[in-house]
Subunit: 168 residues, 2 copies
DNA sequence: TATTGTTATACTCTATAACTATA
DNA sequence: TATAGTTATAGAGTATAACAATA
């Protein structure tokens, strides 16, 4: 007979665990990728739907936040921070400039670099984006207690920090 | 003066917190997306680099795991589980069939559906992929204790389960 | 009418390589 | 020689709409 799709009441992990022997070497129980991917897909779609046709391109929000956090950062700095490719960063920076959210000045110490900084308009846009993103993420995070959500953020921060250390 | 890129010893969150007032409504401290995105980029690149030219397309590994976990699942079931678009799923399923990792039978109860199941060859491929992915994720997760890693997985499972419930 | 799977298509994202200007 | 930024380009990912078969 065919598998009829019931409402999925348990995550894939739990179902896999039930159907496969508890063998740590072949189980996906300890794999992070599946989980990150699934949550990421959901959040990305909701974000794209909320920002609509005038939506930001991939990495634009993250780059704006990085510039706000580190005024004077260079483009390659953005790439290291966000994981963006340097060729992709060009379009992102161009778009942020076009929107008037950031400014670009040549660096006097190293004329190859652009020193990027956020504008007042960019600050407002960032605050608005953050607020909208919070509203998008809220229903996804609603299944966690406040403590659990805080723990999740802290654990991911630890991993992200480790990645930044390793990749640079 | 210009911002010279030092080795990043703290995650973006911590730096933002230091430079911005602790205003919950405009801080990215409680946002999940940045963190997921950054970790996902790292893992995706490492995975692509490890699988090389004969690499699987996006969503193929997840789909194989979903079929292994739920024999007889339909294509639309895969989409619901993995977040894959139904048009994208076609190419993924085709590729899994071409590799001989899954089999496809028409469903007698609902002739529109394909009943998908994993083959013995597919089981071996899946076990191998899981093992390789564990080796890829290990260095990323090495910054966490075993307890922390378990907690991270459990928290993400809770979120993924919630998303599956909501989206279906 | 709605759903499953399929195709075609357009658009975006990502990575690579080649180039310039600086270091 | 190496790095920062730019451009062009190719390949992969993603989403939409239209369609046939079935419910």
């Amino acid at each position: 007979m065919c598998y009829r799709m019931p409402p999925s009441k348990r995550p894939l992990r739990a179902r896999l665990q039930a159907s496969a022997p508890d063998d740590a070497s072949t189980s996906i129980d300890a794999l992070l990728g599946f989980r990150l991917r699934r949550v990421n897909i959901r959040l990305s779609r909701d974000f794209a739907a909320a920002t609509g046709d005038a939506g930001l391109r991939s990495g634009e929000f993250t780059s704006l936040a990085a510039i706000a956090a580190r005024p004077g950062i260079s483009q390659s700095g953005i790439c290291r921070e966000t994981g963006l490719d340097k060729s992709a960063a060009v379009a992102v920076i161009d778009d942020l400039l076009r929107r008037g959210w950031i400014e670009r000045g040549r660096c006097s110490e190293d004329k190859r670099r652009h020193a990027l900084s956020i504008t007042a308009s960019g600050e407002r846009a960032l605050a608005d984006l953050v607020a909208r993103t919070r509203r998008i993420e809220a229903p996804v995070l609603s299944c966690l207690t406040e403590l659990e959500a805080t723990m999740l953020m802290a654990l991911l921060d630890k991993v992200v920090g480790h990645i930044l250390d390793e990749d640079n």
